[in-house]
């Protein structure tokens, strides 16, 4: 699965989404639940102390790490290799895919099991391995469902939120499932089906929630136990990591893991917080013999040294997605990227360019709910505006009329005289359009507004004129009161 989701133009995707009432209800219901849980586990958990301080701690750590990224990546790779692991730095998605293919080929791997990893979807790893004749099984329940159903994720933490239990049961039928649509039964089927796959796989592939530079360790944050299976039984472990996903030491790991668990699912900690450090010469039976770490750039460095660098602070908690009113109504697929919602609208153009993703930063009312929710204080709404600036400065293709309109606006809004004339003319010019006190069919550029809303009728009375009279009346009253003449 690549970063791009679907091939539909943005507005077509939006239209499909807003008419998919199951999906919209599922998404808004999931949002309400996840938001509530996050609030209880953060601002609502008095024992935690000042949540704003926690956010500042997260921001500090991420900013320092990204500002010195080369140093920490060097430290991480030195420590990973010192313990017998193999590190590959992949500048592009292709390089990353090729390396993983090479390792699987060398191992004669036929069966690969995968824990959930957004970056592996981004680089289309599954397809690449399947082309080499590997069976690649997603083992995270949601990803397993999506794989069976040839579908794509719509949320970065609960990827199959758009699917109902009947759809999931129908998907499992393809694997011979004969039970009901009860979630417990469906999950039980996944447990049975995947158990032997874990125990017999040749290669286990994971993503990386956070790497720890000072020991060369990988931290995986999960609930299901599948990541533990994937990292214990196959002889070869390959971890694919977005290059920005690391912390300097275990002390910082404490902060970011705490922020992630509470912000994403409202848990103090997820069921499994697993810290893996390679030890290639160990005698452990239930441990890989061979460890690989693929560190991926794939466009992330485009943000370094720019206003967008803070976008790389993201810890992939989806707190922004869970509060976004736009995501609430269009779901994940409409964004056309595996990274949806506010972080998706900021990241996708950075990783994939404005040609493909330039509309996303405009799919926002700039309500700033995302910036408020982000546990590491990424100023998401400001980055959306910054994208729009770059888009109109030449990064994208804004409509010609829009540029002209903005120029006109700039002139008009800088000139009190023009504006005053405008306020006097508007009621006269727009009079023919006024019905019952408002304008149901707007002129030219306002037509999209009046598709669903009336425009107010311009005020016939001019405020400045009223104010002048009002001031004179007050002065008269005062003078009368004091007996003074005007």
């Amino acid at each position: 699965m690549p970063m791009k989701v679907g091939n539909r133009p943005f507005f077509e995707g939006v239209d499909k989404a807003i008419h998919d009432s199951f999906m919209v209800n599922a998404v808004s219901s999931a949002q309400d639940g996840l938001r509530g849980r996050k609030l209880s586990a953060t601002i609502g958990d008095k024992a935690l102390g000042d949540w704003e301080e926690w956010r500042s701690a997260g921001e500090e750590i991420r900013a320092h790490t990204l500002n010195n990224l080369d140093y920490y990546l060097k430290q991480l790779s030195d420590n990973f290799a010192a313990r017998g692991g193999h590190v590959f730095f992949a500048e592009t998605a292709e390089e990353a895919r090729d390396y993983v293919k090479k390792v699987c080929k060398e191992k004669n791997a036929k069966h690969v099991v995968k824990a959930k990893s957004m970056v592996t979807e981004e680089i289309s790893l599954n397809e690449a391995l399947e082309e080499e004749g590997c069976e690649v099984l997603e083992t995270d329940l949601a990803e397993f469902i999506l794989q069976v159903d040839h579908d794509q994720p719509s949320h970065i933490v609960v990827p199959s939120v758009h699917k109902n239990r009947q759809q999931i049961r129908d998907a499992f039928k393809k694997l011979g499932y004969e039970g009901s649509d009860d979630p417990k039964e469906l999950a039980g089927f996944a447990r049975k089906t995947l158990r032997s796959k874990f125990l017999n796989a040749d290669v286990g592939i994971t993503g990386c929630n956070f790497a720890v530079a000072d020991t060369g360790s990988i931290c995986l944050v999960t609930n299901e136990g599948n990541a533990n299976m994937v990292t214990s039984f196959p002889e070869t472990q390959i971890t694919v990591m977005g290059m920005e996903r690391l912390v300097p030491t275990w002390k910082e790991l404490d902060v970011v893991v705490s922020l992630l668990c509470r912000s994403s699912v409202g848990q103090r900690l997820t069921t499994y917080v697993t810290d893996i450090t390679p030890k290639a010469d160990q005698d452990a039976v239930d441990s890989p013999k061979d460890y690989h770490l693929v560190i991926v750039d794939a466009g992330r460095s485009n943000a370094l040294g720019t206003d967008f660098q803070s976008a790389l602070h993201c810890i992939r908690c989806a707190a922004c997605i869970n509060v976004c009113p736009v995501y609430r109504h269009i779901g994940g697929h409409a964004y056309g990227s595996i990274y949806p919602g506010p972080i998706g609208a900021v990241l996708s153009p950075i990783l994939g360019g404005y040609e493909e993703y330039g509309k996303l930063p405009y799919a926002s009312s700039l309500c700033a709910a995302c910036s408020e929710a982000c546990p590491v204080k990424i100023p998401l709404h400001k980055l959306l505006i910054r994208h729009r600036e770059k888009y109109v400065e030449g990064g994208g293709h804004p409509p010609v009329m829009e540029r002209a309109a903005m120029k006109g606006f700039s002139i008009g809004a800088s000139s009190p005289m023009i504006f005053r004339a405008g306020t006097k003319m508007a009621p006269i010019i727009l009079k023919p359009l006024v019905h019952d006190g408002s304008i149901p069919k707007g002129p030219g550029p306002m037509k999209p507004w009046t598709h669903g809303r009336d425009l107010p009728a311009p005020s016939k009375e001019n405020f400045r004129d009223w104010f002048k009279k009002h001031k004179q009346q007050s002065a008269t009253i005062q003078a009368k009161g004091t007996g003074e003449s005007l």
């Binding site: 219901s29 024992a47 935690l48 102390g49 000042d50 500090e60 750590i61 500002n67 990224l69 080369d70 140093y71 060097k74 990973f80 290799a81 010192a82 017998g84 193999h86 590190v87 730095f89 500048e91 390396y99 609960v158 939120v161 239990r165 979630p183 417990k184 999950a187 996944a190 158990r195 020991t215 609930n223 299901e224 136990g225 299976m229 990292t231 214990s232 039984f233 290059m243 030491t249 275990w250 002390k251 902060v255 705490s258 103090r268 900690l269 499994y272 917080v273 697993t274 450090t277 390679p278 290639a280 010469d281 005698d283 452990a284 039976v285 239930d286 441990s287 460095s301 370094l304 040294g305």
Partner: protein
């Protein structure tokens, strides 16, 4: 045994260039302005931490009971019977003997992990009903058992069987993840070896991926129980 690093130089040069740095230039080590994690539960007594841990067990669907070293063997027996006994695996942990549990393991014909026996260990764990481990650190805030696994204290024991029973020495209870991470970082700073598989486990596996409905027990254990030993 050393591993390999490929493609690093040009990769890091590109990054350093964008950040206006020289590759590998050592940054000034930050003194963090914000460390709220250090103050959480800082004045809790051992009893308060234990009480908090027991409460936290409720929300993670974990059974908890407390006894002392004299009553431990009996308590363990009761728990094993409660969960249906059957096939049992245990980690190879000298604390089982130290805690007086060798007889219990013997009576139930528990299989003690023996890495020398290779893959059959995994088979035993996979067909076991109950896995027995002793935790290295217990995080009170979230009732999280921290297990520092190795070739003897195998991760499979707390992963594959349907039920996981973890013995929790009271002395291992700390407020939260912060203290556990500090412990690990101290080892790192002292040049000590760190376990290659540290698992912080909070209850049975679960998922809410189907219509956001919580299902307890997915790939990992379906049931988890703790026995706190108050004088260990």
């Amino acid at each position: 045994m050393r591993g390999t690093i490929e493609n690093r130089d040009s990769f890091l040069e590109k990054i350093a260039g964008k950040l206006n740095r020289t590759v590998g230039e050592v940054p000034e080590m930050p003194i963090w302005a914000h460390k709220p994690q250090e103050r959480v539960y800082e004045d809790y007594s051992e009893d308060q931490l234990t009480a908090m841990m027991k409460k936290a067990c409720e929300s993670i669907h974990t059974t908890v009971c407390e006894t002392n070293s004299d009553g431990l063997a009996e308590k363990l027996k009761q728990l094993i019977d409660k969960y249906g006994a059957g096939k049992i695996v245990a980690t190879k942990d000298e604390r089982f003997e130290a805690f007086g549990l060798s007889n219990v393991l013997e009576n139930y014909q528990a299989y003690t992990w023996n890495y020398k026996e290779g893959h059959q260990n995994i088979d035993k764990a996979a067909e076991a009903n109950i896995g027995l481990s002793i935790c290295d650190v217990m995080l009170a805030e979230s009732a999280t058992a921290g297990l520092f696994n190795d070739k003897d204290k195998a991760r499979s024991v707390s992963l594959l069987p349907e039920t996981s029973i973890v013995i929790v020495p009271k002395s291992s209870i700390v407020p939260r993840l912060t203290q556990a991470m500090n412990l690990i970082e101290n080892k790192v700073e002292n040049g000590e070896d760190v376990s290659s598989y540290i698992n912080f486990i909070s209850g049975p596996s679960n998922s809410a991926d189907i219509e956001m409905r919580l299902v307890v027990g997915v790939h990992g254990p379906i049931k988890v129980a703790y026995i706190i030993v108050s004088d260990l």
